[in-house]
């Protein structure tokens, strides 16, 4: 346990574990400090300056997302800070040409609405060089980007793919996949992690159904990814009108994956609505065709078949192949079935390859 320190927040006594980021310490005391470039998964960056607060003894306000609480610190969030925040928002809007390229939420425009901030003009050089990617999962629109660098830092600090770069300097700065290639030609695995941390929706899901549908109106259902034994927790985002999954998201506080997903968990949900997907048990009868049936009957047919093989050729004629999508408990049951019920040691899982 780290020791607790006392500090002053807007004139009130407060306490926090030593070294806690100011933004968190303030939040626990009910003071919400807006952030744009901060992400708990990433090292403090302090770039957007949206979170600056006054700290006694410092000649300038300090970023709450990168400043740690210390004993006796005197912090103010209500002096000249709100004015700065509004001006900084205006500045970001002055080069924010496309607030909604792909239907994802946009924290900047939300903040602008809260603060009643408007750009006094659009910068003459606001237009950035466009970028098109031939991959079918993720898109990116430079004109929506606020250069918070969250995506790039995610690729470097979390995913370690470094497939995105913060390119250039000054007015020419822009985010692009390595040397402006397609994501497909970089070290990208299309996990969508960079997308998930983007605060403005500049990086977005390409196949998102009904992009005009704002995310808030989607209904989230928390579930476990069925693709592999890691068991990532995720939210299926369902459009209540069509009852279809529109996209998959995950939250930083979910155990086991902390909001990270791989390409399968994030993007490979379209099988759910696929017309070829089997939703009822089927059995191949004598006519060679598949016929719908009940679970009871299907299991009986399978058991009969296994028993017949065992009777005719012995248990060693039977092998079990477990799917990589099974959990550890299910794998345990499979080998139990193989060893004690059927009596064979021939068990394999495709996860072994």
């Amino acid at each position: 346990m780290s020791s607790m320190v006392r500090f002053t927040l807007d004139g009130r006594e407060a306490s926090a574990p030593e070294g806690e980021l100011l933004v968190h310490a303030a939040a626990r005391h009910g003071v919400f400090i807006p952030t744009l470039c901060h992400d708990d998964k990433l090292d403090p960056y302090g770039g957007c300056r949206m979170c600056v607060v006054g700290v006694e003894g410092s000649p300038r306000p300090l970023p709450a997302c990168a400043t740690r609480v210390a004993e006796g610190m005197v912090v103010s969030t209500n002096s000249n800070v709100p004015a700065f925040r509004k001006t900084l928002t205006e500045m970001l809007l002055a080069e924010h040409l496309d607030p909604n390229p792909g239907g994802r939420p946009n924290e900047l425009t939300d903040l602008a609405a809260d603060l009643d901030a408007e750009a006094p003009f659009i910068l003459p050089d606001a237009k950035r060089k466009e970028y098109e990617d031939r991959n079918r999962l993720m898109g990116y629109t430079p004109d929506a980007c606020i250069l918070c660098n969250r995506c790039v830092r995610y690729t470097q600090e979390v995913m370690q793919c470094s497939a995105l770069s913060l390119e250039g300097r000054g007015p020419h700065a822009r985010i692009v996949p390595t040397w402006e290639r397609s994501w497909l030609d970089t070290e990208c695995e299309l996990c969508g992690g960079c997308l998930s941390v983007c605060p403005t929706g500049a990086i977005f899901e390409k196949f998102l159904e009904g992009t005009e549908q704002p995310e808030r109106e989607l209904v989230k259902t928390k579930t476990t990814c069925t693709f592999c034994g890691v068991g990532c927790q995720l939210d299926l985002n369902v459009d209540p009108e069509t009852n279809r999954i529109v996209k998959v998201t995950s939250e930083p506080h979910y155990v086991s994956n902390e909001g990270n997903l791989c390409v399968k968990g994030r993007f490979a949900f379209n099988f759910v609505h696929h017309p070829d997907r089997l939703t009822k048990p089927m059995v191949r009868r004598e006519d060679g065709e598949l016929h719908e049936t009940s679970w009871e009957d299907a299991l009986q047919v399978a058991a009969d078949g296994l028993n017949r093989v065992k009777a005719e050729h012995g248990p060693q004629a039977i092998g079990f192949l477990a799917s990589a999508r099974l959990t550890m408990e299910e794998n345990f049951l499979i080998q139990k079935l193989a060893r004690s019920v059927v009596g064979t040691n021939s068990i394999h899982s495709c996860e072994a390859t």
Partner: protein, 500 residues
């Protein structure tokens, strides 16, 4: 950085393929090399490209025409406009590859500290003038700090932090420590460090070695801007001589060459660059004296600051004459680099040192892009930190730029804001966007149009000054605010100033 610079010089401009090959060779991610390559202005430009300076002094002496002429006669060689090349004393100036045009001439004076009027060609010449005596007989640490404090020496890189305090702070941090010399001189109008390195390289190196001995640092680095080819050759020769004489035994002192990014002169951006990343400033605190190169305590000083150290320790801090080098350029008869007292006035520098003005003076800039823009009424103000504070300006890197009345203050302001916008590392919002916004505002004013109200402009400047990460964004509002005060008629389209 070193590898990228070598690729550019030995193979050619860094292409995506070369960048990938280097990444694979060094076993780092390709994207991370791409980020670094694209940050610097010159890595993707051939080594023989023509670079025409479009800094403010060159601009007022016809750089745009020169650039247009060069572009017309390019013959396939890339021609680019670049920010201040540090040769404003021979403006307008260009570099063809490593060669400066017109020919370099240096005008300086008999100083009482640095003795720049007489160049040292060799280590022997330097030693004959008493060189290395201080290094060979170094006083105790406490004594060094005491003398530095007594001398009143403050950093001459621009920020003006008391050198004695900085040295004392570094010595208190745990070893191992590093020493870094800031030789990235890029502040528009500033030519002084180049004079020191070209004329008395051994002197600066002695100051550096004193700093290394003091900090018990066995490794030191000199971060030199790429454009200073002559200074580089002089330093390499001087280092070779010192090595041969055994003076470097037991320690290493290396040159690190930049690649065209003004912001790398900011000390924490420099450290990032030295560590092979984009030169984007770090958040302070912690300061480099606590957490610097590779996370270790690091003493960073400017070239000129270090060059004064031998004289201070030789004669004693009290006796040291309290001088600095002034780069005097623009509309003067004898532009050059002159040693003069700290409280010299612009008029004295112009008349007594630089041979007088060539034209009626319209404005002066006291010390670099962010130091402010002052009207002729300020010509008799001593250029000290204290007296300039009343003018909401500062001596910065002591680069007095003299602009003729025929050069419009609005143009000067536009060029200055364009410079900040281009050279912003882009990391923080107020600097990346604020400077572009101010540049836009000034350009619009030149057409008689107002892009925002005066009140909004002041809000933007306040946010830039208060919330920018480093000195670039924090300092950029000074020239704008000075212009509001001294040339109010230029800003009439914006309406009334906010009542504070």
């Amino acid at each position: 950085m070193d590898n990228l610079g070598r690729i550019r010089r030995e193979i050619g401009p860094v292409t995506p393929e070369l960048s990938d090959a280097l990444a694979d060779h060094m076993n780092i991610r390709r994207g991370e090399v791409h980020e670094v390559v694209s940050f610097y202005s010159f890595l993707e430009v051939p080594a023989d490209a023509v670079r025409v300076c479009i800094g403010p002094v060159c601009d007022c002496l016809g750089a745009k025409d020169l650039l247009a002429r060069e572009q017309e006669n390019a013959n396939g060689v890339p021609v680019l406009g670049v920010e201040c090349l540090g040769h404003c004393d021979i403006a307008p100036v260009l570099m063809r590859g490593d060669v400066v045009e017109p020919d370099v001439t240096r005008r300086t004076n008999t100083g009482s500290s640095l003795g720049l009027e007489q160049a040292d060609q060799t280590l022997a010449e330097y030693e004959a003038r008493g060189g290395l005596a201080v290094l060979r007989n170094l006083p105790a640490k406490e004594k060094i700090v005491e003398e530095l404090k007594a001398s009143g020496l403050t950093g001459y890189g621009g920020a003006g932090f008391p050198t004695g305090l900085k040295w004392e702070a570094v010595a208190k941090e745990p070893a191992p420590r590093y020493v870094v010399v800031n030789a990235d001189e890029g502040e528009p109008g500033t030519i002084k460090d180049r004079y020191v390195m070209e004329l008395r390289p051994h002197l600066m190196l002695e100051g550096t070695l004193i700093a290394m001995d003091f900090a018990e640092a066995t490794e030191g680095f000199i971060y030199l801007r790429e454009e200073y080819a002559t200074a580089r050759a002089r330093l390499e020769q001087a280092l070779e001589e010192l090595r041969a004489a055994g003076v470097l035994d037991g320690r290493s002192l290396e040159l690190v060459i930049g690649a065209g990014a003004y912001i790398c002169g900011e000390e924490t951006a420099m450290l990032e660059s030295m560590e092979g990343r984009r030169g984007m400033p770090r958040l302070k605190p912690p300061f480099p004296s606590q957490v610097g190169y590779l996370g270790r305590p690091t003493l960073i000083n400017n070239v000129e600051t270090l060059a004064h150290i031998p004289a201070i320790l030789r004669d004693g801090g009290e006796a040291w004459p309290r001088v600095r080098l002034w780069s005097v350029t623009g509309a003067v008869t004898a532009p050059g680099c002159y040693e003069a007292p700290l409280d010299v006035t612009p008029r004295q520098l112009i008349d007594d040192y630089a041979g007088g003005a060539t034209e009626e003076i319209g404005a002066v800039v006291p010390g670099g892009a962010a130091s402010g823009i002052l009207p002729p009424a300020a010509l008799d103000v001593p250029l000290t930190r204290e007296s300039l504070r009343e003018w909401n300006a500062g001596p910065g890197s002591a680069a007095l730029q003299v602009f003729p009345a025929s050069y419009s203050p609005l143009r000067l302001l536009a060029e200055t804001m364009r410079f900040f916008a281009e050279e912003s590392c882009q990391k923080c919002t107020p600097c990346r966007i604020g400077n572009r916004g101010m540049h836009h505002l000034v350009e619009e004013l030149a057409n008689g149009e107002a892009a925002m109200t005066r009140e909004q402009a002041e809000e933007w400047l306040d946010a830039m000054a208060a919330t920018s990460i480093c000195g670039l964004g924090q300092g950029a509002p000074f020239p704008m605010r000075n212009a509001f005060t001294h040339w109010p008629e230029l800003f009439e389209p914006l309406g009334e100033p906010a009542i504070k």
